[in-house]
Symmetry: C2
Subunit: 191 residues, 2 copies
Amino acid sequence: MGRPKNFDPDVAVAQAMETFWSKGYAGTSPADLAEATGVGKGSLYHTFGSKRELFGKALDLYGRVGSELTEEYLNEPGTAKERIRAYLTLLVEIDLSLPAPRGCLAANTALELGGRDAEATRAVQRMTDETTRLLAERVRKGQREGDVAPEVDPDVQAHFLMNTLIGLRVTTRTHESPVLRQIIETALAGL
Amino acid sequence: MGRPKNFDPDVAVAQAMETFWSKGYAGTSPADLAEATGVGKGSLYHTFGSKRELFGKALDLYGRVGSELTEEYLNEPGTAKERIRAYLTLLVEIDLSLPAPRGCLAANTALELGGRDAEATRAVQRMTDETTRLLAERVRKGQREGDVAPEVDPDVQAHFLMNTLIGLRVTTRTHESPVLRQIIETALAGL
DNA sequence: CAAATTCTTGACCTTCAGTTCAAATACTCC
DNA sequence: GGAGTATTTGAACTGAAGGTCAAGAATTTG
């Protein structure tokens, strides 16, 4: 009953996510969000309550999409080293293909809101933990399949790779593809 | 001639640096800067021209202090691996000892202003390049002294370590000391 | 001391971020 | 069609960010 929405909230969240990703949380104004979604400011507030809540939804979406992509990509055929290399390379190349690299929304948020926004910090932590889990799982799979040495500690290795990944997505802001490839190759030496 | 300044601009820049470091560029208001420096807003504008220019000075100072610290710390007695371990550990522990970790001003700036502020991006790039250079030099020294294998490529290794360092200073926002130590240890395996 | 110069203070201005709201609009059910 | 409900729209509000400026205060030079 009542007037039907003339926009899809899920689509709007996705568009908001892109905007937050490119411009940061503080750097995105309600006017920006209205423009990005094609929805009036008032409507956005009516639907999402506040900028912060919309951002929360955007972060959640980012986490879901990211972990899906990670899982799929890591588990295509190949050795652990090959798949993790492909995964890291993919993320870097996507970012570099953009007019302006924007890194990882989670890492950006950790830096922008870390400490000052407990909930955002927790959300970021959940995402990194999830990715770390998937990496550790993939390393274990590699050990079962014999392409990763048994003395490697999957959890330690996963934390290390996650840290490298975060670094890469900052380094894309200032460095070019060849350097990034070398970093990836060096990081994979332990596998 | 004229009325003498009743504050030291260099000190004010240092205080501004701390504030930008903790709160980010956009998150720091002229009022914040006035409070942090104990200097009136008007005076700050009179001396530094604009918030952006003050930030530029703060970034420069950060670069100078950082590269000095890096050089000294890396070149105390010990093997390359020991000294680089000590250096990475130092930075992480300093950050963790703070009420709220604030990472690395350069990395924070790369994420906050990367793309949108060409000069800031260049400044950050200069700093990372400088640190990378110092790391590469230290690896070479290790090779001369026989504690680093000759087949290691110092430049590649330095880029890799720099990337790890950047990652660490984001990861401090969400993770605890033991995990960070493991990451450092894993990253040092190539030395 | 007067003149010239530079710095400080704090009020003031403009712009915009973030949000709210009243009125208008679109729909369903009876 | 009218009642009731939900959404849209854009105007309007509040507060603060970033910056400017006129007036006065502190100094050196003559």
